[in-house]
Amino acid sequence: MLVNQLLRTIEDNLFGAEDGVCLDRARLVTEADAKFGGEPGPVKRAMMFRHILEGMTLDVASNPVFAGNTSSRPRAWMLRPEFGIHVGEQIRIEHEDLVDHLKGKVPEEITQYWESRRFGYGGIGHFSADYGVAVEHGLNHILARIEDVRAGANETQRTVLEGMRIGCEAMIGWAGRYADAAEEAASRADDPLLVECHRRVAAACRRVPAEPARDFFEGLQAMLLVHLGMVLEGQGLSISVGLPDRALERFGDEAASDPEAATALVRAFLIGVASNAVQGKGSKTQAITVGGADHTGTDRCNAVTTAFLNAFDTTPVSDPHLFLRWHPAIDDGVMSKAAAMLARGRSMPLLVNDEQVAPALVEAGVAPEDAWGYCIVGCNELGIPGRACQCGSTMGFGHQNDVGVLDNVMRTDAASMTCTEDLLGAYEKTVEETAEKGLAARHKQVTRLADVVPFCFCSALCHGCVEKGDDLLRAMPYSDIYGFYVIGTANAVNALAAVEAEVFGNGGRSLADYVTGIDEGDAALLERIAAAPKWGNDDDRADRWALALNRARDRALRRVSGRHQLPPFAVCHVVRSLHHFYGAPLGPTPDGRRAGEPLGDSIGAVQGTARNGPTATLNSVLKLDAKRWYSGVYNLNITLPAGQASPGVVRSLMEAFFADGGQELQFNVLDAERLRDAKKHPERYRDLVVRIAGLNARFVELSELEQDELIRRAEAL
């Protein structure tokens, strides 16, 4: 079928859609909450889910190739009022035009209803279900397992299992509604191609996701319905699609036999994932991961991997974003394709090194066959489809601003600091306190979420949940991998290097004077700080403080994990646009950063401080122990000028970096003139997708703040 002919229209339907608000889910979930109020937690949540799927508007017109939508029109903001009705801080930063997006658009009966009832923080996302189970076995298989387990379950488990049953059956019913809608659309359509598309969707939805998929199309259709179903259940943010080239590997021969058709289907599938409107166009960081080896060392790239790369190359989605897992024996064609895309400025795929991530997970207690099945869940967090979500921001704890901690330490206890190591000692103490508090809060949060707002359908697709009759947060096999969140690390390293030079080295200033100078904007001091060694330049005078800072943090975290008899905590570094979020309210910091400026957006050099080019930045990062970042990959963004980035250069940098222990790498290939023109003429640059700290975004949709930051970065090259 010539899906290609429809793709442009399908893309226009998505990218050309006006920002709106869809009240379907908000109305239905409000109705359901009132109606099913007396049911036990899991059953009530599942019945609410069913009520949504039974009542929501189905849109089979915007993307006739696949069934699946979360709001009545593409990108119309889908509300989850049970978790609050608001535009989150990060979306405000990324899209200034969405700040007042919900104002006056949500009926009072809905806002008032949830005023006193909402659950607060929840719908934490950042996980990937095992889509392979849905594709290979179908939901009826899960329903049969639920029946098997039910007899031996206790009362609490039985209510969760009942919730799972309702959830799976609701999904099958939802697919049936799509089949009806598609058949009706087929009967009304004149264009033979559209008729064929609708009929194929109808036939597929009569079968999947209830039964095993029989071909590539059905496999993609099953995945899309399952994915959007989980979004509608309320999990919401950053639910990720796992490893589709493994889930669909059985259809690799079919994809190989007609690569063009396979690519066209994946393009339509990506539009389907991109239509997830949980936050309108603010929806971000649904990760798709492809490539990589398994625990036997076998490269798992196949024709589906190539179809995903080709599809991302031709359809300019920013969400989902694509990660490619590298290992030394990766398929050469896949690597060449990835390098060509990056050199052209596509800003995807983002690259991850199996040889750093998988062994670190094994060391943390993950079975090798699971560890080598890892994927990205969200911005840069790590997970394992259906087996681990908690190594991501889902259950990350701490959220510590490293430079903020140092700043605070210097201000409160300047007199007792006699050397830079004293600062690190105080930093270490703070980390320990933050981790202790964060851990307690985390435990409380898990219990509350799993008991009060369990996600039964999501859990049914995760391992261990049916058997244990429990929510995924507690029942997945690796629910004890803990990630401590940090940001501002590069700023903290620069602060330590500058303080060493100005205060404890030959500079001769007192620490109190240094702080005063920073606060008063002492130009001479700021100039000297600017000239001090900076992290990310392969300069050991600065880089040694990165190692010292990480060692201090590790010591503190090990004390806390040891005290609670938990596996060592991993570290996760900066996500999404948190560098702005944390930077905006923060005063001047001891690295010379001025009040309100963003923090470093990557584990590499702070913006504007890379003096020796990208190889020096990569060398600095190579000095870190990458295996500590198994909660989330460490988020390293390298910017190259458009004229200089050939596929060969990109590939050389990446392979050299990974072969010597690098963990993760993102390329932005930017052209300042092009970005300036795109800001002025957004209509001409629909396809321009860029990478910011933890997200990919279509440049023309970004806030002025983010656009200007990228332009400055490109101008500095």
């Binding site: 060969g648 940098l653 010597d660």
Partner: protein, 242 residues
């Protein structure tokens, strides 16, 4: 310049350079040049000494450069000596290049060729690829614009291509008001064909970054393309390096 052979006076080291030879390269800019081309791109590196330059021991410099070895190996890159005029410090350059050769690093040298042959002799067995400037075929023009002896340059190029014919790339800085005219380029093409018949030619468009007011070195894309056509009649492989 009076430097011990184990030392170099360097103006700068730049990593991740992509236009100074194959692959990803680190370029060492040597301080000092005997010419004084009015369009020079690095005029601060012309004087034999400068407050900004640093003297380095060649072994230590080699160690410092090796920090990017992993990228050179993957990309087929290496180290390029530029300047200034590297051959003004031929002894030190030879020591550095020998050290890099021992470490099996690919080595390029960029030269204007206006030095006694003795300097080339020290380096000729140590260089994988030469970038040899051919600025003009007119001795008067060359003397006036660059302050050098064209015959010396011609002799050196002839000798060099005689010794290592496949290791020489000719570079033509295309300068408005100096060598961008059709007649001059025609003569220059003939000179390249005579002295370096097997060499590729790269045209480097001039720019006005460091040019005195009242003068203009920059050329247009059209002028570059015209120059390429003229030179292509004489050399096997001519490209414009923007």
């Amino acid at each position: 310049m009076n430097m011990p052979d184990a030392s170099l006076l360097i103006a700068d080291v730049q990593r991740f350079c992509l236009r100074d030879g194959p692959g990803i390269r680190t370029v060492v800019f040597l301080q000092g040049c005997g010419l004084h081309c009015w369009w020079c791109h690095n005029p601060q590196m012309r004087p034999a000494s400068s407050g900004d330059a640093r003297e380095v021991e060649t072994g230590a410099l080699a160690d410092e450069l090796m920090r990017d070895e992993r990228y050179w190996r993957r990309s087929g890159g290496g180290v390029t000596l530029s300047g200034g005029e590297p051959l003004c410090q031929a002894g030190g350059c030879a020591a550095l290049l020998a050290e890099l050769k021992k470490r099996e690093i690919h080595r390029c040298v960029e030269t204007a060729g206006a030095v006694p042959w003795d300097a080339f002799e020290k380096l000729v067995s140590l260089v994988d690829l030469w970038f040899f400037d051919m600025k003009s075929a007119d001795a008067d023009r060359f003397r006036e614009g660059a302050g050098g002896d064209l015959e010396q340059v011609r002799t050196n190029l002839r000798e060099l291509t005689g010794r290592v014919p496949d290791r020489v790339t000719i570079r033509v800085p295309l300068i408005n008001g100096f060598n961008a005219d059709a007649d001059g380029l025609e003569a220059l093409g003939r000179q390249v064909a005579e002295l370096a018949p097997r060499s590729a030619v790269q045209i480097l468009p001039g720019h006005d970054l460091h040019v005195d007011s009242g003068r203009k070195a920059a050329v247009s894309r059209e002028e570059c393309e015209d120059a390429r056509k003229i030179l292509a009649a004489h050399a096997p492989n001519v490209e414009v390096c923007w």
